[in-house]
Symmetry: C2
Subunit: 441 residues, 2 copies
């Protein structure tokens, strides 16, 4: 069994009471799990063991991206400074009519390279041609929870087809790959369609990943059209009976929050996209007060521009302090709880991920805190939220395998990936409005 | 005369109409000014010339930080998750009672190392023991516009004393160092005190750097105490007659904006601090519509945590889109105008800084756009706002001198600076509330 000894790190520990940082500790990995965390010097390196010197670095659980459309990096930068309606109808959905399976494969590899470099070890992804994303994840060595997106107007047949995708990939790659069903949203999938999705999810024993109440405008539109909010609409269709990842929910009413609190639902929170598309802020503080877990997310890179969860962490804390009108909310402890254990809960693996502790799966990120922008290091936990940049991520381990060491990717050939993506730019950036794959109303 | 030839760069050009990026251009620097920008290959390297290969990099004007308390990095992380009132009275002002001149020297060097690494080539700084900051700037090779902070209750004698500081340093270090008067704010300096500052500024031929209407709460308090807003209060004292840097002004009323538009005033905008301390958003769009220039800023690192102007740029654009409720405002063109020419105007050197053009002072930053997070590179101008991180800054030149090349600082010894700052941590972090230097009411 392969073992890795990380020596002399700062160790992030997030308990129910506080976020603390242990200094001078060693972290032992055996196979794909943590075996021990002890004061430095208590474990002697053994023959054949990989030893990593982590002096000046903070070890933290691998970051989890609870909602993305990762392969969309291939369109990054093509829809700037436009309203949400134009973003969908004049840009994204025409652009996606160009999409071919191989684009998704190379786009996913590029996205995984960017995410590994930023310490993101797992992603709940929601897109098209998902076998291609699964192959890319297999190769990269990360974790993923994959859902093949469905629009109601493409017919019920998709539910069996994407269910077959779930069966092909569920718990493959040593358990690193899991799958869900992924109806797009209540505004593009009606209750009849959603009810069949629930039945299929229950048959397969998986959850559902769906966009919900993305803005207060959508909530208003749903009230006008259906007489109920989007949350109530999906509840009526039974969606909330299975474990769900609910993306965004910026348009939640107090009644919606009370409904969601009764179900095994998790919220995926992508604040940069909300700022950039002026979607309003999600009520993160109210969700958590009601016991609904919140996970960090990036959404796709055409709205978010990056797949950087440290950036989402910072923007969540900044945005919620602004929204509440006081700096005393969304504290360091709250923010780091969301970034670790709560994201693991939304991702559906709270027992195995989101914590550095013996017995947990060995997903760990070393963040270099030696840079000038972290000095003097009075509060490493604050540094992680308010100073750390993706470029500070030094080493990344997933499932006991080193994916990046000293900023060098070990499983992916970045130059080759970028070259493949570049060759596609001219074709992918063509925009034919009449060819749009869907309409946002 | 020393010359530098930067070859094959992308070149950021911001005109009144648009922000564009030229590809494949060379940039020639002779002495401390740009001599030419021409398509790559037209200029042959000459003997003894420094040649920099900038393939894959974007050349942009050096970033300007229009309001900071840079040496405060020495207290970074010591006041988290607290209200503005507690931040001042229970943390900052007690902590600053520990301050000694040598702390300011080493703190300024650390801040300059962080800023150079982030592409920040000029800072308008407002703090104490400013001779120490000037010595640090002289050594680092950057530009600075320095003001020695004054509190009214320390007496009128300060005005002569800080005026003497202005005379010692104005236009030294080949013009890299300039100086201003720096009364703290109207809530800590009354009109009598401010009037004497104006007279002194006029005698010296310099401007005034002051905090103003930092929150709407301050505007309310001023209305209750003085019957006028802070903007009107300083106008009555004559402050706006001289060129000013007005820090924050989040509490501006529509009437305040109309007043400011009549004077040579510039706004320093530090959005991360406003988010983190829940101070509300400044009306950036309204300021600019009235013709008042806005410059980017970081404030001090105890509120802002970083001195990273690329981060301020991103947060300004995100925050203003959110505030306006539409993504169509604060466009790429607006944001990059603010980051370049408008910041140069607030900084008081619009003729010489903020533009890559023959004849301008040679302050230029090379931002590496080869990383995975910039690919594929459809829109380099969008990348600069929404993807670039301080760590992408590769090379920094100020006044024709290379301060950082390939991420290596050439004028500062970072390890020595960090070591000196660390030795001060125990003493600096002592907090004696009774020893506070000032009180915020």
């Amino acid at each position: 069994m392969s073992t890795i000894l990380i020596q002399n790190a700062l160790i992030l520990q997030v308990t129910a009471a506080e976020a603390t940082v242990l200094s001078g500790h060693d972290l032992l990995i055996e196979g794909n799990r943590f075996a021990a965390i002890v004061p430095a010097g208590q474990i002697d390196p053994t023959h054949g063991q990989t030893v990593i010197d982590a002096a000046g670095m903070l070890a933290m659980p691998g970051l989890i991206n609870t909602h993305a459309h990762a392969p969309m990096v291939i369109f990054r930068g093509l829809a700037e400074d436009v309203t949400l309606e134009k973003w969908f109808n004049d840009y994204m959905w025409p652009l996606e009519s160009n999409l071919q399976p191989e684009d998704v494969y190379w786009g996913m590899l590029l996205a995984l390279a960017e995410m590994i470099e930023a310490g993101v070890t797992a992603v709940a992804d929601h897109y098209f041609y998902m076998d291609e994303t699964a192959k890319a994840v297999e190769k990269a060595g990360t974790r993923a929870l994959l859902g093949w997106a469905m629009f109601g107007n493409n017919g019920l047949g998709q539910i069996d087809a994407t269910g077959a995708f779930v069966q092909r990939w569920q718990n493959t790659a040593n358990g690193r790959i899991r799958a869900m069903l992924a109806p797009h949203s209540p505004y593009l999938c009606d209750q009849e369609f959603l009810r069949v999705c629930v039945k299929k999810a229950q048959q397969l024993g998986v959850g559902i990943h769906i966009h919900l109440a993305e803005t207060m405008g959508q909530t208003q539109a749903s009230l006008e059209k259906h007489g109920v909010t989007p949350v109530r609409y999906v509840e009526q269709a039974g969606i909330l009976e299975v474990p769900t990842i609910l993306a965004h929910v910026c348009g939640a009413t107090p009644e919606d929050i009370a409904i969601l609190a009764r179900y095994p639902a998790g919220i995926a929170h992508a604040p940069k996209t909300y700022f950039k598309l002026a979607m309003g802020f999600a009520p993160v503080i109210e969700f958590r007060r009601a016991g609904i877990p919140v996970g960090l997310a990036t959404d796709g890179a055409v709205s978010n521009n990056t797949l950087d969860i440290l950036e989402s962490l910072r923007l969540m804390a900044l945005g919620q302090k602004h929204r509440a009108g006081t700096p005393e909310v969304l504290t360091i402890h709250d923010a780091l709880t969301i970034a670790t254990q709560e994201s693991a809960r939304v991702y559906g693996q709270p027992a195995d991920l989101g914590e550095l502790a013996a017995g947990k799966l060995a997903d760990v990120v070393l963040v270099d805190l030696r840079g000038a922008h972290h000095q003097p290091l009075y509060r490493p936990a604050a540094s992680l939220i308010y100073q750390a940049r993706a470029g500070d991520v030094h080493t990344v381990i997933v499932d006991g395998q080193i994916l990046m060491r000293d900023h060098q990717l070990l499983t992916l050939d970045k130059a080759e990936i970028i070259d493949h993506v570049r060759q596609r730019m001219a074709r992918l950036s063509q925009r034919v409005p009449a060819a749009r794959i869907q309409t946002y109303q």
